[in-house]
């Protein structure tokens, strides 16, 4: 069972403190554990640090890794920037979409995987590339990508 949002916030505040500069770290912790940041958690962060709810929401909305919408247990971030674009991004993403039955920006109905595109991952020498959660996958072919995606729990 995952912990409740307010519990995660409380333990992150213990670790990072309740200073203004801890906000992004606390939010990142919640996001990492739940896959997104529920309103409850944003309110708890605002109260703990002493800033407005709107300010916390403003931080969440700024960063592409932070989400206010529930996401899947696994997050695929596939690079759509230039070198990956030259090396087969289109075919790879099409294969993943077909394998998952959902498109970019969507989550499988069983909550297993969310698919997102992202800017350059710094793996252009091994393009096309993607991250699954924190793990990089490189030199993808459509077949290889299908296999990786199918293996996600």
């Amino acid at each position: 069972m995952s912990r409740r949002p307010v519990e995660i916030v409380a333990s992150a505040v213990e670790e990072y403190g309740s200073g203004r500069e801890a906000v992004l770290q606390i939010l990142t912790r919640v996001n990492g554990e739940l896959g997104y940041i529920p309103e409850e958690a944003m309110k708890a962060v605002a109260a703990a640090v002493g800033v407005s709810d709107a300010e916390v929401y403003g931080v969440v909305s700024f960063y592409s890794f932070l989400s206010v919408k529930p996401r899947g247990r696994n997050i695929i971030r596939i690079c759509d920037t230039v070198t990956c674009g030259m090396k087969g991004f289109k075919d790879v993403v099409a294969a993943i979409e077909e394998e998952l039955g959902v498109g970019v920006g969507e989550t499988t109905p069983d909550g297993r995987v969310s698919l997102e595109t992202t800017s350059c991952l710094g793996l252009c020498d091994q393009a096309p590339a993607m991250l699954v959660n924190d793990t990089p996958y490189i030199r993808l072919t459509p077949e290889e990508a299908r296999r990786i995606v199918a293996g996600l729990e």
Partner: protein
């Protein structure tokens, strides 16, 4: 040409030797050595490193900060990833030397969230340095304390801009600040702060060990040191290459195995797009600013599609704080799409967009909006094959 690889050489100096030597010098002498080396920042903007350190050292204010910019997000750049993977000790040692030089006890590595898989190797290096008394309290038994913590981005290219990075470290939206005040006077939490690139820090121990003169002579002509280049796209051997600063782009492409060249993007999406006629240009702050990213396009590539991709990147990554950048990038993307769809057929119709590009360069608050129109102007003027009008190639 002799052995030019010093950063990525097989023979690496012993960890800690440079820090030990630096601690035997005065802080002012360390700054002086770095200044005399002529090293310019490796993160893109090319500000002289020694001058930045001098300013931070002289600034009044407690708790000075040393920040390593590991946000590497410029499209086509991956040389810092290699350094973080293979040479984490040297990064940390360079930061500690910087700390001694400016009078700081605290360093932060700001790592992009996309590089989280590199954390174990960096943390292991930190542990090893702590054990060897090269970090932590009373380094090498003397009176200098310095430790380093890791903090993370959360997926925003603009956070590589140093004031945006500082905002992000303070837990806020990563929106660039107005300058002045400059970080050297008022940076992280208002403290005097230096922000330097990963590659910049990696150079520091070598400068201290071998001297400023050695370093200057590594470069070609007026340029100092060597430079890492991330080469990708249509080349036989994509990867990171180390060459003397001031080498030509042609020399680099030959080593990387570029056989068919229609165009080259030098310095990332915000850099310069060049044609095969320009391969004798130098990778140098005086000519082609060498951010570190080199992307090669062969003759099969549609340069308008390349431009479209760059402009989508900037539209997505603009923080939206100022109008020239927020609206300007959208309009340049629209214009690119119109050229691709045949709605715009002549250079005449693009004129207003070149004027807009100039406005963005002058009127944007940070480097993102100031440089994002470069690729639009370069690709439209050098590569556009417009069906109508007199302009274009």
């Amino acid at each position: 040409m002799g052995e030019t690889r010093v950063l990525t050489s097989e023979k690496q100096p012993e960890v800690g030797a440079a820090l030990e030597k630096a601690l035997g010098m005065t802080a002012a002498d360390v700054v002086f050595e770095v200044r005399e080396s002529g090293m310019k920042g490796r993160g893109g903007a090319g500000f002289p490193v020694g001058i930045k350190w001098n300013l931070a050292g002289a600034a009044s204010g407690a708790d000075k900060m040393v920040i390593c910019n590991a946000d590497e997000g410029e499209p086509g750049t991956f040389k810092d990833r290699l350094l973080l993977e293979k040479y984490p000790h040297r990064i940390l040692e360079g930061m500690a030397i910087a700390g001694y030089a400016i009078g700081s006890a605290r360093g932060i590595i700001y790592l992009r969230a996309e590089y989280r898989y590199l954390v174990p190797s960096i943390m292991k290096a930190r542990e090893e340095l702590l054990e060897k008394k090269l970090l932590g309290r009373s380094i090498l038994g003397g009176g200098f304390d310095f430790d380093i913590e890791m903090r993370f981005g959360a997926g925003a290219y603009v956070c590589g801009e140093e004031t945006s990075l500082i905002e992000s470290l303070e837990g806020k939206r990563g929106e660039p600040r107005n300058k002045p005040p400059f970080p050297v006077n008022s940076g992280y939490l208002g403290r005097p702060t230096i922000v330097n690139n990963v590659e910049t820090f990696v150079n520091v121990p070598l400068i201290i060990l071998n001297g400023s003169r050695w370093y200057r002579e590594l470069g070609v002509g007026d340029d100092a040191g060597t430079k890492l280049f991330s080469v990708s796209g249509d080349v036989k051997h994509p990867g990171v290459y180390e060459l003397p600063m001031g080498s030509t782009i042609g020399e680099l492409l030959e080593i990387a195995g570029a056989e068919d060249v229609q165009g080259v993007q030098v310095g990332g999406a915000s850099g310069t797009t060049i044609t095969p006629d320009e391969l004798d240009r130098r990778l140098s702050f005086g000519d082609l600013p060498p951010g570190g990213s080199v992307i090669v396009f062969d003759s099969s590539r549609d340069m308008m599609a390349v431009l479209n991709n760059f402009m989508e990147f900037f539209v997505h990554e603009s923080c939206g704080q100022c109008t020239p950048c927020r609206e300007g990038n959208l309009r340049l993307l629209d214009a690119t799409r119109s050229v691709r769809s045949g709605e715009i057929t002549g250079m005449e119709e693009l004129k207003e967009f070149f004027v807009l590009a100039d406005i963005m360069k002058i009127g944007s608050k940070c480097g993102l909006g100031q440089t994002s129109p470069n690729c639009f102007v370069d690709i439209m003027t050098k590569f556009a094959r417009l069906s109508g009008g007199k302009g274009g190639i």
